[in-house]
């Protein structure tokens, strides 16, 4: 672990520098970019992917992957709407129940992966289809709208001038950083990713740790769903499509090894900020929204390539 530490820091330093440069360039391209309003608003848009990326960091550090998060988000959103509108539950109860269901979806992923030894890529590919399918089947592509005014606080409200969901994201990031960096659970997560068999023999309850992590991934996706619905004021079954790729991009860009064993929450946070800054800054300076996707793809491959070359030069 000690050998890997400077290398990790190096990637994050490179990433932080890259983010600064991107910010500076984008600010010089458009005067609207570096305003408090714009930055806070971007933080609002970042929260949903951000929450999911935090859990995804844990998942990828164990050497796994969770492709079903976008579908869990969609399913939770649909259930929230159905519980409230069609079953007539009070909205707070609907929110809690839908979140429980989303968390349970993550728990099921964990069970399939740990009980049956199914590779995470395949298990969550299957549940990606299954959960999205349930969302489509239950909703029959009908949207739910007309939520009461107070519900929009989660996605549109502010506390002390900062968007509500940015507080949530900030707290969650701090919690995730502490858990991954400073607790036995975090060390177990790294150990599983570095060598699962060795982790098992050194007394780590590998399956229990993984089950917790996939369940947490479902919980984060469910939380993101509530914020999403509140922000856009409607519920649709295609919500969150492709979100898993955004989250994985942020995590991998943040320096987490897709093979597991390496990665930090700070890296993921930097990756998130860089992606959002690129999307927003390029749009503000006149590049059409989809040009930004191209740049993100290039940055992803480029950042990993540079990282891989660094590793090779250091004899890693």
């Amino acid at each position: 672990m000690t050998g890997a530490q400077p290398k990790l820091l190096r990637h994050e330093t490179v990433l932080a520098a890259l983010t600064m440069i991107a910010m500076a360039v984008l600010a010089s391209l458009s005067d609207k970019f570096f305003t408090a309003d714009n930055l806070l608003n971007q933080g609002r848009l970042m929260a949903e992917v951000g929450l999911i990326s935090l859990a995804m960091t844990f998942v990828i550090v164990t050497g796994g992957i969770d492709l079903s998060v976008g579908s869990i988000l969609g399913l939770t959103a649909i259930l929230l709407g159905v519980f409230w509108k069609n079953l007539g539950l009070p909205l707070p109860a609907a929110i809690v129940l839908a979140t429980v269901c989303g968390t349970f979806a993550g728990f099921v992923n964990g069970l399939i992966i740990t009980r049956f030894g199914v590779p995470p890529l395949i298990a969550t590919l299957a549940t990606l289809a299954l959960y999205r399918g349930l969302a489509e089947g239950i909703s029959e592509a009908r949207s739910v709208r007309g939520y009461p005014e107070w519900f929009f606080f989660f996605g549109q409200g502010e506390v002390l001038g900062v968007p509500f969901q940015l507080w949530v994201l900030g707290l969650a990031t701090a919690a995730a950083a502490v858990i991954l960096g400073l607790t036995p659970f975090g060390r177990a997560t790294y150990a599983i990713g570095a060598n699962e068999v060795a982790a098992r023999f050194s007394g780590i309850r590998v399956n229990a740790v993984k089950l917790w992590i996939y369940t947490a991934s479902g919980f984060c996706a469910a939380l993101a769903a509530v914020i999403f619905v509140s922000r856009v004021t409607t519920t649709r079954s295609d919500m969150g499509t492709g979100l898993e790729l955004d989250a994985i991009t942020a995590v991998v860009l943040g320096g987490t090894s897709i093979f597991g064993g390496r990665g930090t929450i700070i890296g993921t946070a930097l990756g998130l900020v860089l992606i959002q800054a690129l999307k927003n800054g390029l749009a503000l300076s006149g590049v059409k929204g989809d040009g930004a996707i191209v740049v993100i793809g290039l940055v992803l491959i480029g950042a990993i390539l540079v990282g891989a070359l660094f590793d090779r030069n250091r004899g890693g």
Binding site: I112, I122, L125, A129, G137, E140, L298, I304
Partner: protein
């Protein structure tokens, strides 16, 4: 597998069943589906419906052949849906601009081969995992496509360009392509040095190297071949309807990966056949069509697919465990 091969007392049939277990399961599912749904609703067996099942989904089966090779070699490609969208758009644009038809067909295919050879080179020599490279590629292709076309549809393509709508000997050309390419790929994988190298690299890269195989070149070759199949799939996709929507077909990469996995390609690499993946693509198409004929809402299609993948994977895992 090994136990069947080692015990001489077992019959050839048994050995055949063990070797092609997954393919036979998929084939029987298709047969059962046709029998049951056909009995309930005879129109399911009508020419038009069977035609639309096979011809309309042939491009998915063809893309799944390439994907199967990628997975057998121990890799994955999540950008294939975007690539097919890009190919269809390039082909349609060339055809509408008045370029000769052979160019409208071949240029996009060469483009697909070049793109994927590039991806393969990155994967092989920098050791960046294929899921990361193709994730980046997905962004690049998708963003590039929408930026370039602004989502405008392509229409009024010349009739001689529409290869998927031609019917040599009364059978849609897409079906000919699907059958021929599956057969060629199956023979190629089984009987050529390169084909065996694909399995070897997917099974154990270092062992393959020790056996004199160049794993890097094999990986690049597999990606280039996958580009060829994706290219052909893209041309068929472009020409099956009168309009090209110039967008990335949603979830196409998942459908293609799923067909490969259900067809028996082990996601752990080193095993599987392309016959299985083609059969699985047909099975999906049949299920989609059957749901409509059974008056099940089409909205449930994806949930059924998801359950099927899950069931297949769990059965595969159980079988593996028993084999051990």
């Amino acid at each position: 597998m090994s136990s069947a091969a080692l015990s001489p007392g077992r019959s050839n049939l048994r050995r055949f069943l063990t070797g092609y277990g997954q393919e036979i399961v998929v084939l029987l599912s298709i047969a059962a589906l046709f029998a049951v749904v056909g009995a309930v609703s005879p129109r399911f067996l009508s020419d038009t419906n069977i035609n639309s099942i096979f011809a309309g989904n042939a491009y998915i089966a063809i893309a799944a052949i390439g994907m199967s090779m990628i997975i057998m070699a121990g890799h994955i490609d999540v950008s294939v849906g975007a690539l097919i969208g890009v190919i269809a758009t390039i082909a349609g644009t060339l055809a509408v601009k008045g370029y000769p038809v052979w160019m409208a067909w071949s240029v996009p295919i060469l483009f697909a081969i070049a793109v994927n050879a590039g991806v393969g080179t990155l994967v092989a020599y920098t050791r960046i995992p294929s899921i990361v490279v193709t994730l980046g590629m997905l962004s690049i292709l998708k963003g590039g496509l929408i930026s370039a076309t602004q989502g405008e549809w392509i229409t009024n393509m010349p009739a001689e360009f529409m290869i998927a709508q031609m019917r040599p000997f009364g059978i849609p050309s897409a079906v000919w392509f699907m059958v021929a390419l599956t057969f060629i790929a199956a023979v190629f994988l089984r009987y050529t040095d390169f084909g065996r190298a694909v399995y070897a690299v997917g099974g154990n890269m270092e062992a393959a190297r020790a056996a004199g195989i160049n794993p890097e070149r094999t990986v690049i070759g597999v990606f280039a071949l996958h580009g060829l199949f994706a290219g052909i799939a893209g041309i068929l996709f472009a020409t099956q309807l009168q309009v090209i929507q110039s967008t990335v077909p949603p979830n196409l990469e998942l459908t293609v990966i799923t067909a490969s996995v259900i067809g028996g390609v082990s996601i752990l690499g080193g095993a599987g056949t392309v016959i299985g993946s083609t059969l699985a693509a047909i099975l999906f198409a049949c299920i989609g069509s059957a749901l409509i004929f059974l008056n099940v809402s089409a909205y449930w299609l994806r949930a059924v697919l998801g359950l099927m993948i899950l069931a297949t994977v769990l059965a595969d895992m159980a079988r593996r465990r028993r084999a051990r």
